[in-house]
Amino acid sequence: MKLIVTGTCLLCSETIYPAGDWYSLLQTKLPSLCSACTAKLAPISQTSCCTICGHPDSKPRCAACQPEDFMQRSLYPYNDDVKDVLARYKYRGDAALAALFQLPMQRLLRRLPKADAVVPVPLHADRLFERGFNQAELVVRRPKLLLARRTLSAKQSKSTPVEREANLREAFHVTGNVTGMRITLVDDIYTTGATMRACKDVLMQAGAVSVCGITVARSLRKSPM
């Protein structure tokens, strides 16, 4: 009989042994990451980030942000380690990694105004078919699919900021009733925020009261402010 229940790290497949203290002994589940991988995924401190765009170490607000700008929070800085994890999740299609983000994303949700619906940024049907899943949809618990994507816009990660805005203006449409709803959008990566702002525009036009967002990772400014 196995006396010690061991787990396997979701990222590096390293065997995880329970820590030798009473707290871990009483846990029914082992962590899904080993200590080395946990250290790589260092979250953004939500107490010191910009209250508008969620950029780390910019409390109360970064110079470029206005109080009326789109409000969002991110879990991780988009550094090389996080980039690797997200690339594996999104492009390699390792959907099981979504489990890593669900609980922290749920906590992030509570830091923003209460939402009536958590809406993932949609993928175009063709892209969904190619990838096999919507990476934004799996990272939250009860997503409401109230948005759809009309045309297959060029891959956002390969476009310039100007192209992004142009691609996106026409891309989204609302598929359900959002009148009077407070909505929180979910996406994987926040770069310029263009995708989320485009979604916000169509949701507000369709009658939503307020729209904010949460993302798994956000890119950082080149120089510290």
């Binding site: 390699r92 299609g93 390792d94 959907a95 979504a98 096999g132 899943f133």
Partner: protein, 457 residues
């Protein structure tokens, strides 16, 4: 046109529809190419040219791993689905996809144009491999010491297989070895189509056609019943030796009645025992091609070398060794990455004028530094075990500091000792083991080297 490409890609391989789409229809929208190629594959299947199998049954049909449930519904089939995390890096496999296969390609006979000649011992080794192929054995071990000239011993076998119009695969666990081997094979068989496969190649390069393939063992997952002869070079090297999925991949890639040749300078104990009991036909080449003995490592007491290192000092014995070889290049192995910098500093301090640098697996300048060492711009290269095999430098002396560390297994130490005295111009190198207590692995390594020298005399 497309039909020809699809068939060429599938020859001897097992590919998913996604692999075919990305390799054959780069720029076009995914969905359109997907539909087109699926339709084509269905026709080919009806004609009996292509076979398909559900990619995940109880286990993944490519790597044998147990599948993982896909959270939510699958974007491909719209239902609950599962996927394989085991071979994810080779492209994702889901339960709703298929593995497509077609029979292996025919090869053209091609002569070996290598100008050199085999030594008597090499010839014996080479003949044994050809005999194993002719007698339709399923396994054969070629135990050839470091510097025996293994690659050249493979040439007659490759020539024999090509003469039967069949393709050959040479697989090895390490990418560096593939990159070194491929040009040598290409040069020896100019008339044959030689292709190299390893991770990081472009999608269309992954389906290149070939008569002789050189690939990492991971790439064997893409082949099925494709080769009458599969040669696995450095069979004892990580990760092949420790990965059940790769061993499975090797047995799937080779033809059902095919021959698998294990080539190594340091067979594992299991292989050695099988050979001893006669379960595994084996041929030993215990002498280097230039005929000289393998250098026998000498033990030197190093004391508490780690303590000394803290004070930026090295064991006296090691300093004496480095002074003795002041005019020659030295490869100095240490157990851990953390030891590299202190050792390098101490060498620089104690022996001013000696050009010294270090490498390890994560070193960004690894390739450049090894190159500089090859070009004799560096005198002492401090390294971890990454350079234990596959590196040939004329007249290099080797030293191992701290052989008591568990990372220096018998295999590792024999490989390290095998770096010295490889060229006919300088057949006698100096190999020194600096220790704080001999381990049985080190003692066994020296005993094995002595035995090979004695038995091949």
């Amino acid at each position: 046109m497309l039909k020809k490409d699809v068939l060429a890609a599938l020859c001897g391989r097992q590919l998913t529809i996604d692999e075919l789409v990305t390799a054959l229809a780069g720029g076009e929208p995914f969905r359109e190419s997907y539909d087109m190629i699926t339709q084509l594959l269905d026709t080919l299947e009806a004609e009996g040219i292509v076979t398909k199998e559900a990619a995940i049954q109880k286990t993944c049909r490519r790597c044998g791993e147990t599948p993982t449930m896909l959270p939510g519904t699958c974007g491909r089939c719209g239902k609950t689905c599962s996927y394989c995390r085991g071979c994810l890096m080779m492209g994702r496999i889901t339960a709703c996809t298929f593995l497509y296969r077609a029979s292996p390609p025919a090869a053209h006979p091609a002569a070996c144009t290598w100008g050199g000649s085999l030594s008597d011992l090499q010839q014996q080794g080479a003949d044994a491999l050809v005999t194993a192929y002719r007698k339709k054995r399923s396994r054969q071990l070629l135990w050839a010491v470091c510097g025996a000239g293994k690659t050249e011993m493979l040439f007659p076998l490759i020539e024999a297989v090509l003469a039967d119009q069949k393709p050959v695969m040479i697989a090895t666990p390490r990418r560096d070895v593939v990159q070194e081997l491929e040009p040598r094979i290409r040069a020896a068989f100019p008339e044959a189509t030689t292709a190299g496969f390893y991770g990081g190649k472009e999608p269309h390069e992954r389906i290149a056609s070939f008569n002789i393939a050189v690939a990492t063992t991971h790439q064997l997952l893409r082949f099925r019943d494709a080769f009458p002869v599969l040669i696995i070079d450095e069979v004892d090297a990580f990760p092949f030796s420790a990965d059940a999925a790769l061993i499975r991949a090797a047995s799937q890639a080779v033809d059902q009645n095919g021959l698998t040749v294990y080539v190594t300078a340091t067979p594992s104990r299991t292989l050695q025992q099988e050979a001893k009991r006669g379960k595994l036909p084996a041929v030993t080449v215990g002498r280097r091609y230039h005929g000289a003995d393998l250098p026998v490592p000498a033990f030197h007491w190093a004391g508490r070398w780690q303590k000394r290192l803290e004070k930026k000092r090295l064991p006296e014995t090691l300093v004496r060794f480095l002074r003795k070889h002041r005019d020659r290049q030295v490869l100095l192995f240490v157990p851990e990455t953390a030891d590299l910098e202190p050792v390098r500093e101490a060498v620089a301090k104690l022996l001013p004028g000696i050009r010294c640098t270090s490498v390890y697996s994560g070193e960004p300048l690894r390739a450049e530094r090894v190159k500089a060492f090859r070009n004799k711009q560096i005198d002492v290269l401090v390294t971890t075990t990454i350079l234990e095999r596959g590196i040939t430098i004329e007249n290099v002396q080797t030293a191992v500091l701290g052989i008591e560390a568990p990372i220096f297994t018998e295999t590792a130490l024999i490989q390290i000792a095998g770096r010295a005295g490889r060229s006919p111009r300088y057949p006698n190198g100096d190999v020194a083991f600096f220790h704080f207590g001999k381990t049985s692995a080190a003692v066994r390594a020296v005993a094995t080297i002595r035995r090979l020298n004695r038995e091949s005399r």
